[in-house]
């Protein structure tokens, strides 16, 4: 595998941009450019910063440079029968580790094995002053200093250029089995949440078009026993189906309308919103193709205790992400200032104005 350290070059570019106060658009593989508000600034390419820096399967930790391709990392972990628990979507063969962390997307396993942020143990970043900083580390338990590592996840590169990330990895499951059920949305939501309250080896629950799919992962014994307990039909060719769900390759995802991502408490009943909806994360993540006004849609989701993101399509100059409330907005703005005082890193990618 390729290994190259271009951190010196990246640091000097950021330091220079800080001096001049000019904006940088950080780019990994460029596979998630559709996401977030419209980027601005001159391109800072991180892709050349590649390589696995440290991987010790028995420590359950891998440290990797941010330009490393996600697919490459996954392959190396698979060779040691390990994996990233959160099942990150790649959205393209070029997706990098840095882009994955910056976007913070987690796949169908998220409710059962944790999100990207749950697996992050440490980072090396360049802040908006062009300083190289190291937070967290390569050990599973570490509370020295504020947790600035997890803060990078989902920050869309607005707090720092991610140079290196250490993840906690998990053993790959011995056996995977998928069971499917015909049922209504209402019943499916109830059923997923009843099962999630029982000690079953669940690793994904999704629902679309009257069909509930449940994935079980773990030791052979546990999966067989759980399969008997929950019933349903065994789906033989499920691996591709779950991958297409994760990568948004299912036919459902090729609709014309803007695509919304609704993040709600898992047991929330069917959402009273127009449009075609697919349920993932055992009810906690709902994909909705919908032309509805953003304000009205957001109100419905907020009333359910959640928030809505315009994931794809629609007006990218509008607030893509849930607008923040006053104190929350100020805190986040101050935090952005703390890391990037001249607002040179991906300005405007998350919130208008900074």
């Amino acid at each position: 595998m390729t290994s190259s350290d271009i951190s010196v070059e990246l640091i000097s570019t950021v330091a220079d941009a800080f001096e001049r106060g000019t904006a940088l658009e950080i780019q990994g593989g460029g596979t998630k450019q559709f996401y977030g508000r419209r980027p601005a600034g001159s391109l800072l390419r991180v892709k050349g910063h590649q390589g696995i820096v440290n991987y010790e399967p028995t420590e359950l930790v891998v440290s990797v440079r941010s330009g490393t391709r996600l697919s490459e990392l996954q392959q190396i972990l698979a060779e040691a029968q390990q994996m990233l628990g959160f099942e990150a979507p790649a959205f393209g063969a070029d997706a990098t580790v840095g882009g994955m962390v910056a976007c913070g997307f987690s796949g169908p396993a998220r409710p059962y094995r944790g999100a990207v942020r749950d697996a992050v143990l440490g980072v090396k970043i360049i802040n908006g002053r062009g300083q190289q900083l190291r937070f967290g580390g390569e050990v599973i338990k570490n509370v020295a200093g504020y947790d600035a590592s997890r803060l990078m996840v989902g920050a869309m590169g607005t707090l720092g250029v991610v140079l290196q990330v250490s993840f906690k990895v998990l053993p790959a499951p011995e056996v995977t089995m998928t069971r499917t059920f015909e049922m209504s949305e209402l019943l499916a939501l109830e059923q997923m949440n009843i099962w999630a309250g029982r000690p079953l080896p669940l690793s994904a629950c999704a629902f679309y078009a009257d069909r509930l799919s449940v994935r079980l992962c773990g030791s052979g014994d546990a999966v067989l026993a759980a399969g008997r307990e929950i019933g349903g039909d065994e789906e033989r060719d499920a691996i591709t189906w779950w991958a297409s769900l994760r990568e948004q390759g299912l036919p459902f995802f090729s609709q014309e309308e803007p695509l919304w991502r609704l993040s709600v408490p898992p047991a929330t009943g069917p959402m009273n919103l127009p449009g075609d909806c697919l349920i993932d994360w055992g009810g906690a993540q709902r994909w909705l193709f919908c032309e509805h006004s953003a304000d009205a849609l957001r109100q419905v989701v907020r009333d359910a205790g959640g928030h809505a993101t315009l994931f794809r399509g629609g007006n990218r100059d509008s607030e893509i992400f849930e607008p923040l409330q006053s104190v929350q907005w100020r805190l986040q703005r101050e935090l952005k200032r703390a890391f990037d005082p001249r607002s040179i890193l991906n300005p405007g990618r998350m919130v208008e104005g900074w």
Partner: protein
């Protein structure tokens, strides 16, 4: 502050606080203040100026707004079991005791969450939801006493955190009052929140960024079966290899704990758990899951332990025996407390593969400083708790103990680990922070603090050392290897 001036300011503040709280919840007499002078790190003591006991967030908002207006520092306190002096009072500050926030507000069975006030004891949550087959996973050894608010502030872990995560992995939402007196919701009832992950930032922030007034925790289904294996070894490094072998085989135990011989002896004398007294190391490995899964796991772990050279292997046959095996580990601290007038608990984390080397290093240091050390170890996640035995009544003994503790932490850093796995920095490890982090990193921490608390009134002087302190420490440290006047607090 001059004494007369100080008395006047204090008096005026007390009067204002009594407008906010009923009289009996504003403590001002020395004998009332005494119980608050230290947390679990009893070597550091400071009588608070004033103690207040609010019971709702409106009161907390008013108290913080008042203190901000008057430039008075505030220190939040949960159950006071912290081991790094995080809740150590400020001599001219208000100590905010959160013990009256003691209600479980609601349990949402369908969503598997509980909303509780921060003063609720950790174990009370699991007790409340036991009938639903659910529990709250992070289980610090102090769980019968420590508060969930303190757990959030320290990102506490427990025996089960290798498999089930730390506090940060098991909370969803916080209500927080900022030093300005404003309330803000951080996190959500959903699995993620818009904007930056302030929930992660708040967790483990040692009461420096805001006062937590409500916590929504995630509940997990209780595993159907849990069984524990006890294994003895005649060599610590061999036991360390066994730990790596178990994890390398793709097994994530629900708990994986180790003790060295001095710890085994102390525990055996105290609770008679039936541990082999002559073992150099003892490993406890718990597996949970379905009946058949645990059966298979026990067979596999037993095979690995034999292969790795365990001198004795016992599988607990029933729940009573399982509890007995664990009772030793869970009572390790008090057991050590019985064999020595005082003990000092260190909390470093290391990569597991360096265990042998680190334990050898600790034993060398122990000889050098002429102080006994007993080691208990969250082996699965590399979190080491060396317990230094000393006699605080002997002149200089505590200073020597602290110096030895500092050296052990430096050793942890040197092998790629960290100075604190779960107890926090508090006032205790400020110097070691200067070694673990570079100046720009510490500077970044101060900038984060400033975003939340621009006047630096909340728990000032804790968790992150000032740059000037580090400049001074590093200069001294390089030349002499020891900080002069370690007894002087340097805020």
């Amino acid at each position: 502050m001059l004494q007369a001036e100080s008395r006047r300011v204090r008096g005026a503040l007390i009067a204002k606080l009594r407008d906010i709280l009923p009289r009996q919840f504003v403590l001002t007499e020395t004998e009332q203040l005494r119980p608050y002078e230290c947390d679990g790190l009893t070597a550091y003591r400071q009588l608070p100026w004033i103690v207040v006991l609010p019971s709702n967030s409106e009161e907390v908002e008013k108290i913080l707004a008042l203190c901000t207006a008057r430039g008075v520092p505030v220190v939040a306190r949960g159950a006071g079991t912290g081991l790094s002096g995080g809740a150590l009072p400020h001599p001219h500050g208000v100590l905010l005791s959160m013990t009256r926030f003691d209600r479980i507000l609601s349990v949402d069975r369908a969503n598997r969450t509980a909303c509780v006030q921060p003063g609720v004891r950790n174990i009370a949550i699991s007790e409340e939801v036991e009938g639903m087959g659910l529990y709250y996973a992070p289980d610090p050894s102090s769980q019968i006493a420590c508060s969930i608010g303190g757990n959030v502030a320290e990102n506490s872990g427990g025996v089960h955190c290798l498999k089930y995560g730390l506090t940060v992995h098991n909370i969803l939402k916080l209500e927080v009052v900022l030093m300005s007196g404003e309330s803000v919701t951080i996190g959500a009832d959903a699995l993620d929140m818009p904007g930056y992950d302030l929930l992660a930032l708040m967790t483990g922030s040692e009461g420096m960024l805001g006062v937590v007034t409500e916590v929504t925790v995630r509940l997990l289904p209780k595993p159907a079966v849990a069984r524990v294996i006890l294994a003895a070894f005649d060599d610590l490094a061999v036991a360390g290899n066994a730990v790596a072998a178990i994890i390398g085989a793709g097994i994530i135990p629900a708990g994986l704990e180790m003790m060295d011989n001095p710890a085994i002896l102390a525990v055996e004398d105290f609770v008679h758990a039936g541990y082999p007294r002559d073992a150099a190391a003892l490993l406890l490995c718990e597996l949970d899951g379905t009946e058949s899964e645990v059966e298979a796991g026990i067979r596999e772990v037993t095979r690995i332990l034999e292969l790795q050279g365990a001198t004795e292997i016992r599988v607990a046959t029933d729940e009573a025996e399982r509890q007995r095996f664990w009772s030793g580990r869970k009572n390790a601290f008090p057991a050590v407390g019985r064999i020595s007038p005082d003990y000092y608990c260190i909390d470093g984390t290391i990569p597991k593969k360096r265990l042998g080397e680190v334990l050898t290093g600790i034993s060398k240091l122990s000889n050098e400083y002429d102080l006994r050390v007993a080691n208990v170890f969250h082996a699965g996640d590399g979190n080491l708790h060396p317990l230094i035995l000393y006699d605080g009544s002997q002149a200089g003994a505590f200073e020597r103990t602290e110096a030895l503790g500092g050296k052990i932490l430096e050793l942890c850093i040197a092998v790629g680990g960290t100075i604190t796995g779960e107890h926090g920095v508090g006032v205790e490890k400020l110097n070691q922070m200067c070694i673990q982090f570079e100046m720009p990193e510490l500077d970044q921490f101060h900038a984060i603090k400033k975003a939340f608390d621009p006047a630096a009134l909340l728990n000032p002087g804790k968790a992150v050392p000032t740059l000037s302190r580090c400049a001074e420490f590093n200069a001294m440290h390089v030349h002499k290897g020891r900080l002069p006047f370690p007894e002087l607090p340097r805020f």
